[in-house]
Symmetry: C2
Subunit: 111 residues, 2 copies
DNA sequence: GCCCACACGTAGTCTTGCTACCTATGAAGG
DNA sequence: CCTTCATAGGTAGCAAGACTACGTGTGGGC
C-alpha cells in the first residue's frame, strides 16, 4: 500500500510499536512489516528521520549498544511519548471517524 | 481537528461529496463542514487547487453557470471519477485497518 | 576474497495542504 | 451614496512530511 498516505500518522505508529518494548531502528521496520502483514514496508530513509524527530520532541530516548560488534541504537518510549501516544490515538479515532463518514463506514477490525 | 492529517485523502473526500450530486466549490466546502459536523473546515486555498487537480486527472468535470449574476463553477463526477472513488474507498479501508491495528481498533461508526 | 543481510544515516526531491492575498458581485446598513 | 459583509472563485509561495538514492561499515556464508 502507498505508505505516502501515512503523512502525519507515522509518528503515532512508531510510538505504538515502541509501546510494546524498546527496539532498534531496523527492528522497528521489521515489527511494522510483521504486524501489518507486509502492508507497511517502510524504507530506512523514512524511519530514521522520524525517530530523530521523535527524539528531539522528547517522545523517545535512544541508547547505543554494541551487540556482536554491531552498533545498534535502541529506542524506547519516554513518559512524554506515552502521553503523546494517547493523544495520537484520540486523534486517529477522530480522524478515521470523520473520513470514514465520507468513505463508507470504517470497517470494524476483524478479531 | 488538524486538517493537515488529510494528506492524500482529500481527493477521496471531494469525490465522495460530489458523489451525491454536482456542487460548486463553495458549496463543497460547506458540505464537508456540515457532514463532518464542523470537523472539516477547509480553506478555499485547499479546495480549489484540489478540484483543478481532479479535473486535470479527469475525475471531475466543471461547467460555468451564472446564477443571479454570480459566476458559479459547478463540478460533477465523471465515470473515471466514480471508478477512482471506488479505488479510494478500498484504499481507505486498507489504510484505516492497517493503522487501526497499531492505534487501537478503529471504532465502528455510530449509527 | 566477495557478496549479501544487517544496521545506521543524510541530502535532495516531490507531493500536498495551508496561509495570505487578490478579484468581483449582491444585499444590507449607515 | 458608500461601506461592509457573505458569497464565489482564484493564485503564489511556504511548510511539512515521506520517499528515492546514496553512503558508511560489520559479520557470516559461499
Amino acid at each position: 500500500m502507498k505508505a505516502q498516505a501515512l503523512h502525519g500518522h507515522l509518528d503515532a505508529l512508531l510510538l505504538a510499536v515502541l509501546e510494546r518494548g524498546a527496539l532498534h531502528g531496523y527492528a522497528i521496520i521489521e515489527a511494522l512489516r510483521a504486524r501489518s502483514e507486509g502492508a507497511l514496508d517502510l524504507p530506512t530513509g523514512t524511519i530514521y528521520p522520524a525517530l530523530r524527530r521523535l527524539e528531539r520532541a522528547g517522545h523517545v530516548a535512544s541508547s547505543w549498544s554494541t551487540v556482536n560488534g554491531r552498533e545498534r541504537r535502541t529506542y524506547e518510549l519516554t513518559d512524554s511519548g506515552r502521553r503523546a501516544l494517547a493523544g495520537e490515538r484520540a486523534g486517529w479515532r477522530e480522524f478515521s471517524a470523520t473520513v470514514g463518514q465520507f468513505l463508507g463506514d470504517t470497517p470494524p477490525a476483524p478479531a
